[in-house]
Symmetry: C2
């Protein structure tokens, strides 16, 4: 009923040596707890660029920890409007939308070739009952997702196009940095249309604003390649200091 021994062994090594440890695990877990955590991970799964990890309506039975790659999640309204709700990178946990109704409510699609750890949800429930540190960590991860979405709501509800883009670039920058990549130079794995969908803008607006940032010397853009020249400039924009008509 459990995964075959070779698999568990294989993954034990992989999990406690995984360089995503700090992102995906609770800091301060005991070795013992980490062993319990490793029991969670049943298998790995590869998702090639363009393919889906899961789709809205699919039965929910696992969460997924991104090992490498890049994904987007999208929700669709009944009348066909699509909204990107997030982009996911290594160390992040996806699929939590499915817990509420045993069905996934969004599509999650790889934007580049991706590998995830499959974590069957019933095992999480089991381990949650016996390992307080893991249970607590899991709750924090879900809560963090709620807080993240509050931030997106703030962005969508109260920011202008330039502010949204600046916030978006800074967010990506910070996430790349915390994964050991450059914070000033990176490749956008998503299209302008996907950025626009996430930020509540049209792709033309995204393109225009990026061009404007470039002419103002804040960034360099060449297709999907971005270099941030003035993070402070971007931060100023996020804070509404741009043209500054806002003496509110």
């Amino acid at each position: 009923m459990n995964a075959p021994a070779f698999s568990v062994t294989h993954l034990k090594v992989a999990c406690s040596n995984c360089n995503l440890r700090e992102l995906c695990l609770p800091l301060g877990l005991s070795l013992n707890d980490i062993e319990r955590l490793e029991e969670l991970v049943a298998t790995r799964k590869r998702v090639r660029r363009g393919e889906s990890l899961f789709r809205a309506g699919d039965k929910f039975d696992s969460l997924y920890a991104v090992r490498l790659g890049f994904l987007k999640s999208t929700v669709m309204s009944t009348d066909g409007r699509e909204q990107v709700t997030g982009f996911h990178m290594a160390g992040e946990l996806v699929g939590m939308d499915g817990i509420s109704s045993d069905k996934h409510t969004c599509d999650t699609i790889a934007l580049e070739d991706t590998e995830v750890c499959v974590i069957p949800y019933d095992r999480i429930e089991e381990v949650a009952s016996s390992v307080p540190a893991l249970r607590n960590h899991f709750h924090r991860v879900m809560s963090r997702e709620i807080v993240r979405e509050h931030g997106v709501m703030l962005l969508l509800g109260s920011m202008h196009a330039e502010e949204r883009l600046a916030a978006f670039l800074l967010n990506l920058s910070q996430r790349f940095e915390s994964r050991g990549y450059s914070r000033s130079e990176f490749v956008l794995r998503m299209t302008r249309a996907e950025i626009g969908s996430f930020l509540g803008l049209k792709l033309e607006t995204v393109s225009r604003v990026l061009s404007r940032f470039a002419t103002e010397g804040l960034i360099e853009v060449k297709q999907k390649h971005v270099r941030i020249l003035s993070p402070d400039g971007l931060r100023a924009i996020v804070s509404g200091q741009s043209g500054a008509l806002c003496a509110d």
Copy 2:
């Protein structure tokens, strides 16, 4: 170290008889489980209109189940922009934002005199280890919040003012109905500015759109009092069938 006995007794009765049972509890809990649940609730707390249940930065130690009343949650950016992230009514659980960092990240404020059950988080953690049904229910509630926020992102990211308002009214209508109130006639507890903040619109726009709905015979509005005359009309608007330039 526990709440005084009289309090527990008092609440035991109150909790299993609470008419919010179906909203706030997992259906199909055993009587035994319900007793365990009742141990969770330490106290009640009243929050008068205009006062806060908690504020961003406050230490997190409890979740709150709304017994009666109406609240809003708001997040604030560093530069002072405010965004309403949700409105909460009887039977809903608030405060989950605080789990991730042991601090609340939003303000939650009563829009009318409100009473909540205070649920210390460390007790939730305790009970979560021993009562699978409650643990699972708790996970579902958090997941449902994530899904709800996806819906708000869809609204903020891809809908026009009329569509947002129509969706908002239908959502309220449905929530009132599931609490036994009229689905067609209710009082808005929040101001136009608060609706606007939630929907990413200015208060004038909210006012104008409501007036337009009224002249079109979809609703009646008189200040905070709203009567829905044509839910189907509103649904058509949400689906983008309004003027219908969208042959996309």
